[in-house]
């Protein structure tokens, strides 16, 4: 076998003998166009020596057919006309390699996504398009030359961005496997949104009780370097070798000297709204976000601090921990992998004016209700309504606020947690106030998770919570700030007008407002809903299209805690897999300079977005451009703009592109 393979080693000079394999893809392709006809057509084209069809070429049997043709010496170039290369290009490359053919002598024609799916209803047209795709792929295959893959080492360290429940779990798993983790969190504490929750559905276990131990575990973990109140400012490099710059914002309090006595907080004259309580409570300019914060470091918020110096007085801060001259620090670290777990923002319902949020005091959001219910919240778990601080006797919840909204100002997706959190909050209130009237206005109740349907059924049957199917059209308030609701009960087909004491908007989850900063920093993509895009919605849910960078939790799309933790562990496993290999292959599609043509004009240096090109002094050719292959992404900006045609992109050379174009005409 090995000997045959050695014989088969292809050189660029050998005459191309192309094998064309047209896949039926079940009925995806074969059900629209005639695959045998396509094969016959391909066989009429120059250099095509073998043409075959099969139900699924990606299967073992299909791959074997290709391998046998290679091994028998019938062909030295492979064209598979099937699906998108995103999924199966690696499959066929490996098959070629196993049969002794350089894996870059393979080309794929996507006749499924680009033809039979989009032109499903016009089979004749689809057939013509498929023929074109096959002809172009063959044209390029004719010009293919063997390339060598490059191997780079993987730094055994991971950067985790975001210290919520997802980021924490990822960090813990990776650290336990023995790799270094830099956990970067931009607020002064880890814990994320889960720290704001009182209880979690459907088990009703206390959020803090299960979160706090995790938080301290993270802070104790040997392999985790916890960087709170920090932000990633720059990421360069590539898979296995990312160079990351992290800004450590100044706390203005020395964490070593500080004994966390809290006297400074009492003496601080500045009171501002507490972000953690979402406007329902206050904090001082010097603060710890919440009692269980980790690390429990004090921070001075310089946007609000007036630098009066009272906290720094010796009778206030005995250990002299306050340092107004604290400076931001930049930390540079090298990591092999990155996990993005940046979480979500709560939808701001102010623009949905019909619901009166921000206008009527007794209209609040679900997250605010959570703080009202929280035992360490502003009203220590005894919810009152904002207007008169009285206990509400009736509460209405409105579902899908900002979610499943196809009109302006809303999000089209389902936020996946609101049905359950509203049910949970309603149950919590009903437990303490059995006499209260609770209404949940919904479109559909989506109780999809483990134990969720049971939880919802019990809320309706055992707790007497009233579920009304109908959107609330508008609300107004009376003189006592009670909320008057107008809706329709679509099951009874009756209009409803009712008065409640408190109105809770079950607002959904949104991508972070500054998610764009992350996408440009890491060169990852967003999907149409604004969340970060996974490499494949089903099979690569935590990977991104940038190798070595993974996503997890709500940053990828709305999900509840169990799903977030599952993804956290998935992303951790993916990162570990990469680091455990020690080295990784990178595609050889980078720019190469033809020194004899280059005049050293440096136009390419300007055009390169990745800083991969330098001008060097060559002994033979004088001033010429040189490409750093590790930094080059193969985008082709340099090649397209080179006025001397001195730059080629491997795998996309001028000859190959030209061959495709002429093949088309």
């Amino acid at each position: 076998m090995t000997e045959i393979k050695e014989e088969m080693k292809i050189t660029g000079n050998e005459r191309p003998k192309i094998g064309v394999y047209v896949c039926h893809c079940g009925v995806n392709i074969g059900g629209v166009v005639s695959v045998p006809d396509l094969v016959e057509y391909a066989k009429t084209l120059p250099n095509v020596k073998v043409g075959r069809e099969y139900k699924f070429f990606c299967s073992d049997v299909g791959q074997k057919m290709i391998k046998e043709d290679i091994e028998a010496g019938l062909i030295n170039r492979v064209v598979v006309a099937a699906c998108s290369p995103r999924m199966h290009e690696p499959t066929f490359r490996i098959a070629c390699k196993e049969a002794g053919l350089n894996q870059f002598l393979f080309e794929m024609a996507n006749i499924r996504e680009h033809s039979t799916w989009v032109h499903m209803k016009e089979p004749e047209g689809a057939y013509e398009v498929a023929k074109d795709h096959i002809r172009l792929a063959i044209a390029k295959a004719r010009e293919l030359i063997p390339l060598d893959v490059q191997k780079v080492s993987v730094e055994p360290a991971c950067l985790v961005i975001g210290g919520g429940i997802t980021g924490m779990n990822t960090a813990l798993d990776i650290a336990t496997s023995g790799y270094k983790v830099y956990l970067v969190e931009r607020t002064p504490t880890i814990g994320g949104h889960m720290a704001q929750l009182d209880k979690t559905f459907p088990t009703m276990d206390c959020s803090s009780c299960i979160l706090t131990p995790k938080m301290s575990e993270v802070s104790r973990k040997k392999n985790i370097e916890l960087l709170t109140y920090s932000e990633v400012t720059e990421v360069t490099g590539y898979v296995g070798n990312f160079e990351v710059t992290i800004l450590k914002k100044p706390h203005y309090v020395d964490p070593i000297k500080c004994t966390a006595c809290g006297i400074c907080v009492d003496s601080c004259p500045i009171t501002v709204g507490n972000e953690f309580e979402i406007g329902l409570g206050t904090r001082k300019a010097i603060y710890v976000p919440f009692p269980q914060a980790v690390p429990g470091e004090y921070t001075i918020d310089m946007e609000n601090c007036i630098e009066c110096g009272i906290c720094a007085r010796i009778n206030v801060c005995e250990p002299e921990a306050i340092k107004f001259d604290d400076k931001p620090e930049y930390l540079k670290v090298k990591v092999g992998t990155i996990v993005v777990a940046t979480g979500w923002d709560s939808y701001d319902p102010t623009e949905l004016k019909q619901y009166g949020y921000g206008k009527y005091p007794n209209v609040i959001t679900g997250l605010q209700m959570e703080r009202l219910l929280s035992s360490f919240g502003p009203v220590v778990g005894k919810p009152v309504r904002p207007s008169d601080l009285k206990e509400p006797h009736s509460i209405a919840f409105l579902q899908c606020v900002g979610s499943r909204n196809f009109r302006e100002g809303g999000n089209k997706y389902c936020s996946r947690v609101c049905c359950m959190y509203a049910t949970k909050q309603a149950r919590q209130y009903k437990e303490k106030h059995p006499e209260a009237d609770i209404y949940i206005f919904y479109m559909d109740i989506r109780a999809f998770g483990k134990g969720y349907e049971e939880f919802y059924q019990s809320a309706a049957e055992n707790y007497g919570i009233n579920y009304i199917r109908g959107r609330i059209a508008e609300v107004s308030e009376d003189e006592d700030h009670n909320i008057i609701i107008r809706s329709e009960d679509t099951l009874l087909q009756q209009p409803i007008e009712m008065k409640v004491d408190l109105f809770v908007l079950s607002t959904g989850l949104e991508p972070r407002a500054d998610a764009d900063k992350v996408t440009s920093l890491l060169r990852i993509q967003k999907s149409a809903d604004g969340f970060f895009m996974e490499a494949h919605p089903k099979l690569r849910p935590v990977d991104t299209l940038t190798e070595g960078i993974f996503i997890a939790g709500v940053a990828q799309g709305p999900k509840d805690i169990p799903d977030s933790v599952s993804q956290a562990k998935g992303a951790a496993a993916s990162a570990i897999t990469l680091m455990a290999q020690g080295e990784v292959e990178i595609e050889p599609f980078f720019a190469i300079i033809r020194p004899e043509r280059c005049i050293g004009c440096a136009m390419c240096v300007e055009n390169c977005a990745y800083g991969a090109i330098d001008i060097i002094d060559d002994r033979r050719f004088g001033k010429i451009a040189e490409v750093n292959e590790a930094l080059c992404k193969g985008c082709g900006a340099c090649s397209g703009n080179c006025r001397c045609s001195a730059i080629d992109i491997k795998g996309f050379s001028a000859e190959q592109i030209y061959s495709i174009i002429t093949g088309r005409m």
Partner: protein, 322 residues
């Protein structure tokens, strides 16, 4: 600010203004004249046609007639201004729909070609309030204000078609709680009251007035009750049909619902440009603000005398003092 050269608009009257409330037309013409705007007539303009009546029965007919009206302004090379929410709705919906649907535009133009016309989409249909608020701007109008009311509480009624559907209206998607009319009215010193269900329909629209009058007037009763409760000295409208429903409607509500209301309603109903014109120092006669007994056979049905007394008290006396 308006550019030096004068702005020109084609005034689209519609039906209710010339037939029921001609003083709305005179107030628009005089206010715009004071603001250095040229108002051109649209010769041959017909019914817009009314959205509730025509569109509900046959959309293509509705579009063709509306497109014909717009084409008159296109010939003159001017944008359209209308003081009626219904006309605004019909013309603007048509203008937007035909611009976004190539096939529909072609079909409509085939019909129009039979009478030698065509729709191009070059004349934007605008509401009087839109011209005031967006084309001229509050600062520009402010420079023309001469007198201010010191104590006038008004209930502004926007009406429906002026702001809805929000994607075909010029207010940036705002339809639940618009402020543009409030801001124009507040330039006169009048206080715009916040009353319950401010955005509720007057009751007339959608052919409800013609079809089921009692239901229609029940809306009006609700609306009037809320306005009265808030302490309105006058109702300010931006649409002649709403104007009719709130004016004649008071009369009708007082009869039909006399057992359900405490005392008969008699709140003067004033059109936006009438109030604005007063503040700009225009002769009330030119704004159609006449004593009821001076008019015969012409509305208003509800006496505006209490409002004229306020004007006398707050604007005229102040002017004499000055």
């Amino acid at each position: 600010m308006v550019e030096e050269q004068s702005r020109k608009y084609g005034l689209f009257l519609g039906c209710v203004i010339p037939n029921r409330y001609p003083f709305i037309e005179t107030s628009i013409r005089n206010v715009f004249d004071h603001l250095d705007i040229d108002i051109l007539d649209l010769p041959g303009a017909s019914c817009c046609p009314a959205p509730g009546v025509f569109r509900a029965f046959h959309i293509p007919s509705w579009l063709v007639i509306a497109a014909r009206n717009i084409s008159i302004a296109e010939e003159l090379g001017v944008d359209i201004v209308t003081g009626c929410n219904g006309c605004f709705g019909t013309l603007r919906d048509t203008w937007i729909e035909l611009q976004h649907d190539y096939d529909l535009k072609k079909e409509i133009n085939e019909h129009l070609s039979k009478i030698g016309r065509s729709f191009k989409g070059t004349s934007e249909p605008k509401h009087v309030a839109q011209v005031l608020y967006q084309d001229l701007g509050l600062d520009y109008i402010k420079d023309h204000i001469k007198h201010k009311f010191s104590d006038l509480n008004v209930a502004i009624h926007y009406g429906c078609h002026i702001a809805k559907p929000s994607d075909k209206r010029p207010w940036g998607g705002e339809c639940e709680d618009p402020r543009f009319l409030d801001e124009i009215i507040e330039l006169t010193g009048a206080k715009s009251l916040n009353y319950k269900d401010k955005m509720l329909c007057c009751g007339a629209g959608g052919s409800v007035r013609s079809a089921i009058k009692e239901v229609s007037l029940d809306f009006t009763r609700e609306k009037l009750t809320n306005m009265k409760k808030a302490g309105a000295d006058a109702i300010i409208t931006a649409c002649p049909f709403c104007h009719l429903q709130l004016d004649l409607g008071q009369f009708e509500v007082n009869n039909i619902f006399k057992d359900e209301i405490d005392e008969p309603f008699k709140i003067p109903v004033i059109y936006t440009t009438q109030l604005l014109g007063l503040s700009m120092g225009i002769d009330p006669n030119l704004l159609g603000l006449l004593k009821n007994h001076d008019l015969s056979g012409v509305p208003p049905f509800i006496s505006i005398d209490p409002f004229l007394n306020i004007v006398k008290e707050q604007l005229v006396k102040e002017e004499i003092k000055a």
